[in-house]
Assembly symmetry: C2
Homo-oligomer: 409 residues x 2
């Protein structure tokens, strides 16, 4: 056992190149609009900088460059991940949330915050550019990189379905849809059925990722704290909208991953949904509407179809793992975001998993992701043997590097 190493799969990584690289992946007719949009973003960045009290700049100093060159430089990324002990990553867009501008966000707002205030044609063009770049980036390390295509289904379902097929042909393994539908039809509506059907047909894993900003209230006292308090709910919402509308009933093989949104909230929400399904007193007056789309209680779909990429899981996420389902939690390190564990992934894994049984730890750190993304464990074995954190290191008493105070919490 002493020599066993964990296969670490980060189910939440971010990658994206500088703007001039994205430009090269964009169809030429969008270049002028792209340059204008980049200029707007630069103005926004100036605003953001004023709220930094030093944490962001300290993070960059501590980590030499905040890991940002790893966002697009294949060799740098692999070297850094080797150091962190991470064998495989699932890659989402928008690597730079520090607002430095050295790495671009996905063109035309097509990334994490997609879904609002963007011209449909531009968002689709931006998504295509990112997906093409990402396919190239993943091709450089095909065993270690799982690319998630951006698919803005809220702007055009037909175009979205075409992009899912294109992404599949490019070798990408998943699809990220906007976390919020804003003024578009919500995800229970039949108009999206071709999206779910295409994902199920191709085995493309469906994803939402936290990140869409506040949208139904304006700036005022407490604006940002209110947003931060609510963000989990907006990012969790597609779960019950898809589930109650029967998407997982119609597509038993569809896998859906909710990324970077913790997992602590799952037990209460699913338990309340099960109560309604079984016909609790409070909902009796509604009749049998809770069983119209479903043949099983909501918790059964959670178990079968839904996975929580609970990046850098905290105490609540792991303490509730048996209520959530040990097989449904995917660890992630959110590299290279400053709220992630870089450059202290080994230490943070130990802090979080030290007292959790080895078998459960192994599943949450990587083996669950092996199942979700059909990874080749055998081919990964030599890499894991070289860089994977030892079981004895995660659960033992070996002193580890001390964490800077502000990263320890």
């Amino acid at each position: 056992m002493d020599d066993d190493r964990y296969l670490l799969v980060s189910a939440d990584g971010h990658a994206g190149p500088p703007a001039w690289v994205y430009r090269g992946y964009l169809e030429r007719r969008y270049h002028e609009r792209f340059d204008a949009h980049q200029a707007e973003l630069e103005a926004l960045r100036e605003m953001t900088r004023t709220t930094d009290t030093g944490f962001a700049s300290r993070f960059e100093e501590d980590t030499v460059d905040g890991g940002l060159s790893a966002a697009y430089d294949s060799d740098v990324r692999s070297a850094k991940l080797d150091g962190e002990g991470v064998a495989v990553e699932v890659l989402f867009p928008d690597a730079d949330v520090l607002g430095t501008g050295r790495v671009a966000s996905s063109p035309f707002g097509s990334g994490l915050a997609s879904g609002r205030d963007s011209e449909p044609e531009l968002v689709l063009a931006g998504a295509r550019a990112h997906n093409r770049w990402l396919a190239d980036f993943c091709a450089a390390e095909p065993l270690r990189r799982i690319g998630v295509a951006i698919v803005p289904i809220t702007v055009d379902v037909d175009a979205a379905v075409a992009e899912i097929r294109a992404a599949d042909e490019l070798g990408l393994k998943g699809v990220m849809i906007p976390t919020r539908w804003f003024d578009a039809p919500a995800y229970h509506e039949p108009v999206y059925e071709p999206v779910w059907a295409t994902c199920a047909e191709l085995g493309m894993v469906l994803h939402t990722h936290s990140g869409a900003g506040p949208a139904d209230y304006d700036v005022g006292p407490g604006f940002l704290p209110i947003y931060a308090t609510e963000a989990w709910w907006w990012a969790a919402r597609p779960l019950w909208v898809l589930l109650w509308s029967g998407v997982f009933e119609r597509h038993p093989g569809l896998r859906y991953v909710i990324a970077e949104n913790g997992a602590w909230w799952v037990p209460d929400q699913i338990q309340k949904m099960d109560e309604k399904y079984h016909g609790g007193h409070n909902t009796k007056k509604f009749g049998d509407v809770f069983r119209q789309q479903l043949s099983m209680p909501p918790s059964a779909y959670l178990d079968r179809n839904i996975f929580l990429a609970a990046s850098t899981p905290g105490g609540d996420d792991l303490a509730r793992r048996h209520q959530i389902g040990v097989g449904n939690i995917l660890w992630g390190n959110d590299f290279p975001h400053p709220e992630g564990t870089f450059p202290y992934t080994r230490e943070r894994v130990r802090l979080a998993f030290r007292d959790i049984p080895v078998e459960e730890t192994g599943r949450m750190l990587g083996l669950n992701s092996v199942g979700v993304y059909d990874l080749d464990v055998e081919a990964l074995a030599p890499l894991v043997a070289r860089i994977g954190p030892r079981v004895s290191e995660v659960h033992g008493d070996v002193p580890l590097q001390e964490l800077p105070m502000e990263l320890a919490s």
Copy 2:
């Protein structure tokens, strides 16, 4: 101890008269519009009836008339509450949720679902009519009835402030604002400051009550289950919006009650808010915005200013009472709604509180409400001595009337 009885205060009751009575309380110039609106409601009722699988009609049969004449007949109400063991009630609008039309909802949609799709002038007129009727209804039993005025602050802040003062003069003790602001400014915005200030000045208790329907998505598969799953969140939302924007910092004496929304969700939400306030790793990049409006952690405002009128509390609500605050939970029976405990309040109180210490039970069942609404315990003593459930009955082994299966859950 055997002879001690609990003072039961239902922090969630509903009252309202038939439409023709409301008509008499409305200014004459709105009568024609009122009649037209009632006709629209009748059409809606027809639609609702088709979803009843028998529960609603069985409830009416079981309870003779579903308690609906108690919604407006003072003597009937007092007699029924005597039977239930309830000494005092906090009264919200909209007694009839069965859609029978025998009792009207508050005129022009000014009641529980207020805030959307209504003409401002009509909503205000409807609220005034309800408040005047309610004041008369409460005056018939001043010790036992606490009236909560409807104040549609989202349609007109100046008119709302005038209505709060008018309600205070009418002897009403609280103010119910719309649970959702829909397209109006959200409750963190300074435009509402006169509302909070007036409530604080007059000692009027601020309320929101669950009930506002889905509004940001359309009818489709799973529509009602999705709504039912989300309802708690929409009704909980004003808590953190008011709290983070500093309303309870600026008005330390303001009391805010969230009615009929359980309390199970409070510990997680408040703990996450405290983490942000204290500067957890995930929010460090935002700087000190979490402390800009507050001098104490969110949990301290919860403790001081916020109360959960967790009607017919379930296992989760009571099991988490120490994390929520035993002093912050107000029992209620939601009379005469079918999801309430009528006509089995004594039995349901026993089922829920049997294993909870007497001192804690006494606070949650009534003494907390005594504090929130400044009730006169001494004057109520003879009534409690006559109708209050005995401590030995709630916690003992005396066989009680058996509950019908479908009401026992």
